[in-house]
Symmetry: C3
Subunit: 249 residues, 3 copies
């Protein structure tokens, strides 16, 4: 449960210190929105009360205590501790274990409501797993900052892609017979996958192992090869600008 509060430290950006002093209420609300983002977003999309995740008073108090420790302890002790590498690694690993649980809960919940709507299961699993990424826009808006180009959908980050893949695997595991491994093993494999890539991102700076697969997929199915062919044949005149199928990381 305490891993809930761990996301708080991740919201720290340059200027956060001064902001936390001038607008404490806005800072607290924005932090709560980050911590409870997944639940709120999914409740909103499934027609359930958006505020319901806040009814768990225990989680709310833990999140508030972590928020207070990180932002307001004297001489920034809380902030420095949260940035200390071993602590950060343990927090990050715990967060990934919890993220896997959230993806699974999301897929199960959606499957109960709409047993045949695979796309809804994948969407809810992804949003529950990486809710903070998708509410970034609103969380910034609460702090008075508006960045419409920072849409998670346009440049999905690695956690988002990992959640999509995990959701698809959970859906296949639940709804079809393609995956013959026992459920516990599938679940454990996804936890290992999440933790491994998170730690390698923190320690080694590897950011997105999906990029080569994406580029291949884009080239084959989303027009990459055909566009090049059309350009070669000199028929590319109706393209509105230079086409760049390769994604930049």
């Amino acid at each position: 449960m305490s891993s809930l509060g761990l996301t708080v430290g991740d919201t720290l950006v340059p200027g956060a210190h001064a902001f936390s002093r001038k607008h404490p209420m806005s800072c607290w609300l924005s932090t709560m929105l980050v911590v409870f983002a997944g639940g709120m977003l999914c409740n909103g999309l499934l027609g359930e009360p958006i505020l319901a995740p806040l009814k768990n008073t225990g989680q709310l108090i833990v999140a508030t205590v972590v928020w207070y420790v990180v932002f307001y302890t004297p001489f920034d002790i809380g902030y420095k501790a949260a940035k200390f590498l071993p602590i950060k690694l343990v927090c990050a690993a715990m967060k990934e274990v919890y993220r896997c649980k959230k993806v699974y809960d999301g897929v199960s919940h959606a499957a109960k409501l709409y047993p045949n709507a695979y796309i809804i299961m994948i969407l809810i699993g992804t949003l529950k797993g990486n809710g903070a990424g998708f509410t970034k826009l609103f969380e910034r808006l609460i702090r008075g900052v508006w960045t419409p180009t920072a849409m998670e959908f346009m440049q999905p980050s690695f956690p988002t892609k990992a959640c999509i893949v995990a959701s698809i695997i959970f859906v296949l595991d639940k709804k079809t017979d393609i995956i013959s491994a026992p459920h516990a093993l599938v679940y454990f494999g996804i936890v290992i996958f999440f933790v491994y890539f998170k730690l390698s991102s923190v320690l080694l700076g590897i950011h997105d192992p999906f990029v080569p697969f994406e580029n291949l997929f884009c080239a084959l199915f989303l027009g990459g090869i055909w566009d090049s062919l059309a350009k070669l044949l000199g028929r590319g005149g109706n393209k509105d600008e230079k086409v760049d199928a390769k994604k930049k990381d």
Copy 2:
């Protein structure tokens, strides 16, 4: 059912080709939002699950196939076919027939929930009929573009106005005895009205037959005549700027 996918082609704007290559996921989500806009918007406003329209897997697959054909077929065959006049005309006519059904469904649904709330019936009918117009802001936001001045409420387009009129007629037909014609005739009349004005807009370039009535109404009831009178009498000093009651199209 297949007419659902027809709106996809309408979302094409300059730059769409390059965008579809760089951000396929954002492009797909934005297209789905356009196609299912009416249902999602009304569900959100009536406290029902926003994602529910996506549970119809058949419609979702049709919409995805049309999206793929329009954006990613080699040499832009799909796009060019959708822009070919006879195909475009048939699609447009089918879409208007379907729009009329959506307005009627919206009014009926709202009337079941709130039997005495005429304004909710008209609102839901309009939003269901021309949902894509009202979600334009969010659909652009998913693509990272933010255009706050392009509000449908400020400069309602012709489909919005037609949906408002159709909703009012359906409400009068359902709830009062003013309209003595049989229901099927009323419904058929509105379909004809929708298709006629859509085709005349595509073929003849007539955009908005409501403008003269609006100008008359504004002049009579929304201050037009009185403002002119006040200006003549030299009392117009407290107006904050030059008043222009005539609407520009």
Copy 3:
């Protein structure tokens, strides 16, 4: 009930006259959003139909009549009457009495849904009491104006703070034995408090009696004293900018 329409006059800003002539529909919608803001916002957050407050046709007609009188009566009679001091004072006082009822209703409603979630009760009470403050962003968006920095959370206005305090007192009264006074007395005390500060704000220009308490609280618990100490000791180097714990009004 008629006090519902009273908020309409408050929405008047420079440029409103010209706007009401050019975009009557947008003006009407934006006014309705202001009048029904609290109910819609709370319904949205509690998973109830957002449009439900509009089902009360009587209130809707009163609000529409007031909107019409304020904006469209010849020679601005309605607008000038609403700005006439005695009328304005009576309206303001009635509005505050009604605001207190809304806060109490919000707290009671949330307490029925989530008997142990104190933070939800306080949130719903505050949002219901000063809904218009929180929907300002959307209401402006309907008029095509986008002001992301005008967030109520960042610079809470006096009504918002008063609603927070009133919600906390109602929660303490309902859920604990700390307040031994009878409920009617507590309710009456809050009404007096609301009306007194509203009238002193209109007549004497006193805007926010909470500021000294806030500054004290910020200095003691939200880092003010420790920051000053750290600066004195010359350890303030890791602060990202000059810290200003004192809030400006």
